[in-house]
């Protein structure tokens, strides 16, 4: 690890979070959603919009960039902005980049947001808007193999074949996250489910059923990144950015082992940066585009041995009262799909002690992760800490 990275630890903080309601049809543009979430996050931090001097987002051509949001909110002279191309694998890199910009003094108050009409307008990987812009699509699309549920199902079966992971393991995870969502007023899906409900849900792409798959959601979420020093003087308890890491992953056309993700390479750097290990994590918000992506991350972030993610979940370890509560908001599977930013915001709520009925008692350190690096070789993650 570069020595100077140590100077990054806990230098910056998340000082505010903001949401729009989650729905199946927002009825408004992604620009409107973005503006609402940005203003809500700024309000939460106790700042005025005029104090924002940086904006950052990630998108796949489906949302409003900072160059639209800035002028729309009258933020005329942004000293830093980022329009990051990419899906869930870069969601946490955006906040990491913002923290770097703040730590470097390029900006003082950066709002990171993701606004998405994923249900009513742009259905990712679906039939409406064609395939993602990557030349590698030509080696899969002719076979009717284009959508994320298909691709993650392919990796899930590889894991099942290699380690004996079973449908009941995936189901246990879906059941646990739904139970968490039942305690989250913001969640779209709050009716508890059973393992039988999971097993009875219709096939999407075997081995995935409907309840293996994330929701498609209209909504936006934003977080305010500023210096730790400044955050301490603001309205909310500051949540420090202890570590931010980027990593590689698995090209879908070349890898030695598709059951190991980029998270396995990133995790040691991330933990070293924070000076912490998996045993120090009190609560984890792990990117759950599908049930399987959580199971493989539990292994690759070191919470259980390789291949044992399924039994680990089925043991109840990731439930709200387990040794490592995971996706306490319900995750993409049950709260809503805002492409990673709602995972960061939930981590902040937990560390502030503001998560209501789903609060993990005494939570001081949280891990929040992006898509672990399948399909496109990139991933990212944050370790956040109560100040």
């Amino acid at each position: 690890m570069p020595k100077r990275l140590l100077e990054f630890r806990d230098r910056t903080a998340i000082a505010g979070v903001g949401y729009t309601p989650f729905s199946k049809d927002s009825g408004v543009s992604t620009l409107t959603l973005a503006c609402r979430a940005v203003l809500a996050a700024v309000e939460d931090a106790g700042l005025s919009p005029g104090e924002v001097d940086g904006l950052a987002t990630h998108r796949v051509g489906d949302s409003a960039p900072p160059t639209l949001v800035g002028p729309a909110l009258g933020l005329g002279d942004l000293s830093w902005h980022l329009d990051q191309f990419g899906g869930g694998s870069v969601s946490h890199a955006v906040v990491g980049q913002a923290a770097l910009a703040v730590a470097a003094g390029l900006a003082e108050t950066v709002v990171c947001y993701r606004a998405i009409n994923a249900r009513s307008e742009f259905r990712m990987g679906g039939t409406g808007r064609g395939v993602p812009v990557s030349p590698e699509v030509q080696y899969q699309a002719p076979y009717g193999y284009v959508a994320p549920p298909q691709q993650f199902a392919m990796y899930a079966r590889a894991h099942m074949l290699r380690y004996g992971t079973r449908a009941e393991h995936f189901g246990a995870l879906a059941v646990i996250q739904r139970a968490n969502a039942a305690k989250n007023p913001r969640a779209l899906m709050r009716t508890p489910i059973t393992l039988d409900d999971y097993l009875a849900s219709r096939w999407i792409a075997e081995p995935f059923r409907l309840l293996d798959c994330c929701l498609e959601t209209d909504g936006a979420c934003a977080v305010v990144v500023t210096t730790a020093e400044r955050a301490r003087s603001l309205r909310r308890p500051p949540v420090l950015v202890s570590a931010a890491a980027w990593g590689g992953g698995t090209s879908h056309l070349s890898c030695d082992d598709p059951t190991v993700t980029g998270a396995a390479g990133l995790a040691p750097r991330l933990y070293a940066q924070a000076g912490l290990g998996p045993g120090d994590i009190d609560v984890a918000q792990l990117y759950d585009c599908f049930t399987y992506s959580v199971i493989v991350q539990l292994e690759d972030y070191g919470f259980c041995p390789k291949g044992e993610g399924g039994p680990y979940v089925a043991s109840g370890a990731t439930a709200l009262d387990g040794e490592l509560p995971v996706n306490t908001h319900g995750g993409f599977l049950s709260e809503g799909y805002v492409h990673g930013v709602n995972h960061i915001a939930e981590a902040v709520s937990q560390l502030r002690g503001e998560a209501g009925d789903r609060q993990v008692p005494g939570a001081e350190v949280a891990l929040s992760t992006a898509q672990p690096g399948y399909v496109l070789p990139a991933t990212s993650a944050l370790i956040l800490r109560r100040a």
Binding site: G126, V137, G144, I204, S254
Partner: protein, 144 residues
């Protein structure tokens, strides 16, 4: 299988042209001899540009598969099976294709690529159990 059609680019055009002629070729680095897929200008092993096409056996092992049950691609409503194959002659490389057998694959099953002519303009590579392939190579001749 209809649905999306490949859009060859300046790196891949030669590969698709060979598939259309029922040839299975990958790139061979001119400097270090490393075989690679998909087609691209640089060798990732030695970072040089010179290369040539090298015909190799379309052989591999089943690493995973899905049975698609939703119409993710327009016109493809019925269940179909997509297989992930680890290429035997090209280390580290994975390919996909539709499964050309009435039964599902077996884990680690040895498979062989077969060419499927979708229409006059498009031929794709699919996979079938190696045990299905007759011993005589003439069964799957190169066109033209």
């Amino acid at each position: 299988m209809p649905g999306y059609r490949p859009q060859p680019d300046r790196d891949s055009l030669g590969w698709w042209e060979r598939v259309a002629r029922r040839q299975f070729a990958v790139q061979e680095c001119g400097a270090c001899g490393t075989l690679r897929f998909p087609p691209r200008a640089f060798c990732a092993a030695c970072r040089t540009e010179g290369w040539n096409w090298r015909e190799v056996a379309p052989e591999g092992k089943v690493e995973s598969w899905i049975v698609n049950r939703r119409p993710f691609v327009p016109g493809l409503g019925d269940p179909y099976l997509v297989v992930m194959v680890r290429l035997t002659p090209v280390p580290g490389c994975l390919m996909y294709g539709n499964w050309r057998a009435e039964r599902p694959p077996e884990p680690g099953e040895r498979v062989r690529g077969v060419f499927t002519q979708v229409d006059e303009a498009l031929t794709v590579l699919d996979w079938m159990p190696e045990s299905f392939i007759p011993a005589r190579p003439a069964e799957n001749p190169a066109a033209g």
